[in-house]
Symmetry: C2
Subunit: 284 residues, 2 copies
Amino acid sequence: MIVVKKIAEMTAAVKEMKAKGLTIGFVPTMGFLHEGHLSLVKECRRSAAVVVASIFVNPLQFGPKEDFRQYPRDLEKDARLLEREKVDYLFAPDDLEMYPEGYKTTVEVRDLEDRLCGRSRPGHFKGVATVVLKLFNIIQPDMAFFGQKDAQQALILQKMVQDLDLDVKIRIMPIIREQDGLAMSSRNIYLSEKERRAAPILAESLKEARLMFEAGERRPAEIIGRMRDLIMREPLATLDYVEIVDLDELNPVAAIGGDVLVAVAVYIGRTRLIDNIILKAKGN
Amino acid sequence: MIVVKKIAEMTAAVKEMKAKGLTIGFVPTMGFLHEGHLSLVKECRRSAAVVVASIFVNPLQFGPKEDFRQYPRDLEKDARLLEREKVDYLFAPDDLEMYPEGYKTTVEVRDLEDRLCGRSRPGHFKGVATVVLKLFNIIQPDMAFFGQKDAQQALILQKMVQDLDLDVKIRIMPIIREQDGLAMSSRNIYLSEKERRAAPILAESLKEARLMFEAGERRPAEIIGRMRDLIMREPLATLDYVEIVDLDELNPVAAIGGDVLVAVAVYIGRTRLIDNIILKAKGN
């Protein structure tokens, strides 16, 4: 595995691969890798001739009061994990390489970026879209892999790719969970032992939503109400949102007709966790 | 010359050219072509193996009270002119091809887009940056040609290309003028005969600026003052702005030390015209 720190070096390598007609698969990450990330890398390895992973904790997607500084980093361990998965290139630029002094350009995906997590994290998805566009331009992947855990991010990036006529296929891979259901996240490291025991409440509330749906419930308010009750019964949990939205515009649905996203964000202590499921209407 | 209306058709053609290793030169326009546009096309023809020109009157860069509907269009004549210049592909999509229903994504180049014309035309440069990014993604040019007449646009696009790590060389070509100095513009067609006779006042005021500079004047206020006086003496002219700004941030300069842009925007009757010169400090 070749570790690349400079954009110019990465684009030169990409040019060579392109000249050889090799398909490039890309897994962008913020590092501190877990099995969720590695599932993306494995699928990428199966799908593309060349696998490029990136590790970059993107300052542009953190709010001023968020955890950019504390965000966990372990480049050496990450590099070992990626090498084991036969990644060809690890692109790991520093902040100034990506955003030199006088940097000015941002991308936004209107409406979609203001919903769900966008309400609690203003500017977050603008930062995500911008860094992913930059990475796409540098790596020029044929396909790029993202996790379903960040459902809104996935939808926004798919919309950006479509709107900006980018020639990259976005592939969304299922959420990977701990044995007790907790969705894997680099931020789980923030949890105290007690908080860790409380954290599966997100997954449990979603499981309850699925059970209700399978029993025929189609009224979002009923499902959301039950989920809220469950979450609020957990003393360490503070609800940010529970929503049931359509998959195109992320607007709350009045009734569950087609496929919907059930998305939940909860503070466990001071750590904000997210999780989601998609409920598929019959016939899909 | 092959005329292409659909994005998918254009990207397929681009893929073939790329596979052959051909360099692609690109001239994006809004059509109603004049000698200014054709000077870009000629330079592109000299520089690239394949020349792609586009004609698209971009609704996103017009304000709600601006001239999107009236903007002059003559695709047949334009196609003849481009064919004469040995253009290989004319990409001429319609509005819905570029911005289908539900389109949401925009690009902005902070600060630069708010200055000069950006103040009179809020949202204009966001529209320009967005459409040019889309066109770059579709055409994937090695080089793209723009006119110095739209000096702020040129700087914004250069900044966007740099910030977003796009692999395209932006080339800026000199302003082409009528015999009496009026900078060529598709919008000159709006001018009545009387207005047309008044319109060279922009170029004349810039000529005066250059004379003062060459005589040693380095105080922007003095130069701007003289230009304003000249323009205000023309009864059909209404000043929008005269500014002397640096070439990096487009900020007004306190004294002319390095290279500066002298930019002017004037309404002649109801038609808004722009023009500019660059004053080069000694030793450049």
